[in-house]
């Protein structure tokens, strides 16, 4: 009953033009930031922060949270239209979103990513509202061994990302993990594979790497063949504006809800992140799909799974932030500073001392999702036109976006050269049948896996991974998930052999 009263109180605080304007401004800005490669959700929240200093605390928080929510959706726009994920959490969206655009169904990719994002965001917030306190207790008990096992579980999705050649996919994941070790060792400070370059002390930045591996490699691959001379590069230009019908969205309800739950749960664990949530959900969606062989070739379920999870993880990341004052991600770390600027201390006392603020925030997040839907729907009619731009114009523009995006991360030309290098390497690897996605997966999960592994061993020795029940279960599930595609392939081979 208390919860209902608090929620009504929260919604009532949104009645008024100022709160709605604040949410709308946050959503528009967030979508822009998310769509631009090189600008991350945390950067968007940090950039908006100074503008909110003089605002009342509740308006400030709802605006910043709207930026955070919307930027997770925004990354899917460029992921679908030009295979350049605007945020790392949209990488998995590109796996099926971009093939959909290549088939002349950019409208489908954008529509599904929008609806799945909104549904995922709503589910994440509902779970936040209903279960924030008990979930926070679980989150804070996570041992580094469990983080390592979670990263290992994330790595098992390499088996489903590799397509037909599991060994090449596994090799590429190892390559990505190796690349993630470049830089100063976080525990001992040893310079690993830096070759005397100061710029490599922090390792390869993820954003330039993923822009190079996805966008530039695709550009170089397109240049291998003669570009069409007429405008529009797809066979069926009519379909660019076609959108899924409501029954098409309804068919995706299982995968959307499943991914929303997974995304929220992963988002709760500090440091796990929306990227891991989207990869795991994508992998789970593929394993539970009736047509797993169509993933990576434009299956709407792949788009829905990734987007629902990365949006739902926002609600999950807010759980440790609000209940314990522990930021679950870089964006929530910026939100903590926003709370502190307004003399608010996140934690259990915030719920009892400032219920109007907290539940107003929850209500605003629900409203923000609806505004994302409206703005996304209106804007998507525009984004889909990207698919009609002649390749001769699009290719130099994509390269320019890649340069700007890579430079903007650290104001460094080294990152731009690194992006170009990754683009060339990615193009050559792709040309000869080596998949890209596992490299990015390895780079995303590598530092989490290594730091958690080493911390766990320092704290409890090697046996800690098997003596902690949660860690043991995650490891066993990982082994099973990894082995399943190979077992299935072996069974299929035996079935196809003649009986005698």
């Amino acid at each position: 009953m208390d919860l209902l009263n608090h929620l009504i109180l929260g919604f009532s605080s949104l009645f008024g033009i100022i709160p709605i304007l604040a949410i709308t401004a946050g959503v528009v800005f967030g979508i822009w930031v998310g769509a631009m490669p090189g600008l991350s959700p945390s950067m968007g929240v940090a950039l908006m922060l100074p503008f909110t200093f003089r605002m009342p605390a509740n308006i400030s928080l709802i605006m910043l949270t709207a930026v955070y929510l919307a930027s997770n959706y925004g990354g899917s726009i460029t992921a679908v239209t030009i295979n350049t994920p605007g945020t790392p959490s949209a990488i998995a969206t590109a796996f099926d979103g971009y093939p959909l655009a290549q088939q002349g169904k950019a409208g489908w990719g954008l529509g599904i990513s929008l609806v799945a994002s909104v549904v995922g965001g709503l589910v994440g917030i509902i779970i936040l509202i209903l279960f924030s306190k008990p979930l926070a207790v679980v989150a804070v008990k996570m041992h580094p061994a469990e983080y390592f096992s979670l990263a290992l579980l994330g790595l098992t999705s390499v088996a489903s990302l590799g397509g037909k050649n599991g060994i090449k996919a596994f090799g590429m994941a190892m390559f990505g993990l190796l690349l993630s070790t470049v830089g100063l060792d976080p525990i001992s400070g040893v310079k690993r594979f830096t070759f005397g370059q100061i710029e490599l002390f922090d390792g390869f930045n993820l954003i330039p790497a993923l822009i190079g591996l996805f966008a530039l490699s695709e550009v170089f691959e397109r240049l291998e063949t003669k570009l069409p001379e007429t405008s529009g590069s797809y066979k069926d230009v009519k379909n660019e504006g076609e959108w899924p019908k409501w029954r098409d969205y309804w068919k995706l309800k299982r995968v959307t809800l499943q991914s929303s739950l997974v995304g929220t749960l992963i988002g709760i664990f500090p440091g796990a992140g929306s990227s891991i949530a989207s990869f795991l959900s994508y992998d789970l969606a593929k394993r539970t799909s009736k047509t797993p062989e169509t993933f990576g070739k434009g299956n709407p379920e792949g788009v829905a799974a990734s987007e629902a999870a990365n949006s739902a993880s926002v609600g999950g990341a807010m759980v440790p932030l609000l209940t314990l004052g522990i930021p679950g991600s870089a964006s929530t770390a910026v939100l903590i500073s926003a709370l502190m600027i307004h003399d608010l201390v996140p934690g259990p006392m915030l719920f009892s001392q400032q219920p109007a603020l907290v539940y107003g925030l929850f209500a605003s997040m629900l409203v923000a999702n609806l505004i994302i839907f409206v703005i996304g729907l209106l804007g998507s009619r525009l984004w889909v036109k990207v698919a009609l731009i002649p390749q001769q114009l699009l290719i130099p523009l994509i390269i320019s976006i890649a340069v700007v995006g890579s430079f903007a991360v650290n104001n460094s030309l080294f990152d731009v050269f690194a992006c170009l290098g990754f683009g060339v390497v990615g193009w050559l690897l792709k040309r000869y049948g080596f998949p890209m996605a596992p490299i990015v997966l390895g780079m995303v999960l590598g530092s989490l896996a290594e730091s958690s592994f080493r911390r766990a061993v320092i704290m409890g020795g090697y046996s800690v991974f098997f003596t902690r029940p949660a860690s043991l279960i995650l490891i066993l599930v990982s082994i099973l998930f990894f082995a399943l595609p190979f077992i299935q392939a072996h069974r299929d081979k035996k079935r196809l052999l003649p009986k005698n």
């Binding site: 600008l39 950039l47 037909k164 050649n165 060994i167 090449k168 596994f170 090799g171 190892m174 390559f175 993990l177 190796l178 070790t181 525990i187 001992s188 040893v190 310079k191 690993r192 594979f193 830096t194 070759f195 005397g196 370059q197 550009v219 170089f220 691959e221 240049l223 291998e224 063949t225 570009l227 002649p390 390749q391 001769q392 114009l393 290719i395 130099p396 523009l397 390269i399 320019s400 340069v403 700007v404 430079f407 104001n411 030309l413 731009v416 050269f417 170009l420 193009w427 690897l429 040309r431 000869y432 049948g433 080596f434 590598g446 896996a449 592994f453 080493r454 061993v457 320092i458 020795g461």
Partner: protein, 187 residues
């Protein structure tokens, strides 16, 4: 420090990197010539790529011997684990190639335009400190579009200037991204 560690330390330096790259190119050319008569054409691409990955793994493995050992889990432990995993996959792929069991190289197009464009991109980035971001990007866009045989000049000018203006207002003014100004603007 053992001799392997010293060698690894030497490789993990700017001159070491140059040496690695020179030996890498020579190694790949040599392997390609050596296997031309043994390997069918449709496996040469992935064979070269696999060899390249093995070379990188071995170089990185040698460098790990130069890492200082401290604590129960050293800085070299996990990189070596990933290297062994990568080497294992490369060896498996090579064996599959020589046994003829690997899938053939996918059909690809011509290298010419991608290589030309890579050259243009390198020039674009290398000239940025001298020309500045805005002038350099303008030139790149015009050259990049014309190289792809698109000659509608009104569209080219609008796109180029529009994109530069967009970057100026959004990234430079709003997001305070410090684009290189270039020597020319300073003069």
């Amino acid at each position: 420090m053992s001799s392997l560690a010293k060698f690894g330390n030497a490789m993990n330096s700017p001159m070491g990197l140059l040496g690695i790259i020179i030996v890498f190119i020579g190694f790949l050319i040599l392997c390609d010539f050596a296997t031309r008569k043994v390997l069918p054409k449709y496996y040469r691409g992935q064979f070269i790529v696999t060899l390249a990955l093995m070379y990188i793994s071995l170089v990185f493995l040698i460098i790990t011997y130069s890492f200082r050992k401290s604590g129960q889990v050293t800085a070299a432990m996990l990189p070596r684990l990933w290297i062994y995993g990568l080497l294992g996959c490369c060896i498996y792929t090579l064996v599959s190639i020589f046994r003829g069991k690997e899938t053939k190289d996918p059909e690809g197009g011509s290298f010419k335009m991608p290589l030309i464009y890579i050259g243009i991109c390198i020039a674009y980035v290398a000239l940025m400190p001298f020309l500045g971001f805005f002038i350099d990007s303008l030139v790149f866009l015009v050259v990049g579009i014309v190289v792809l045989k698109y000659y509608r000049w009104k569209v080219i000018v609008c796109i180029s200037i529009g994109w530069i203006a967009f970057n100026y207002f959004l990234f430079y003014k709003l997001f305070y991204v410090s684009f290189p100004q270039g020597i020319i603007l300073h003069l």
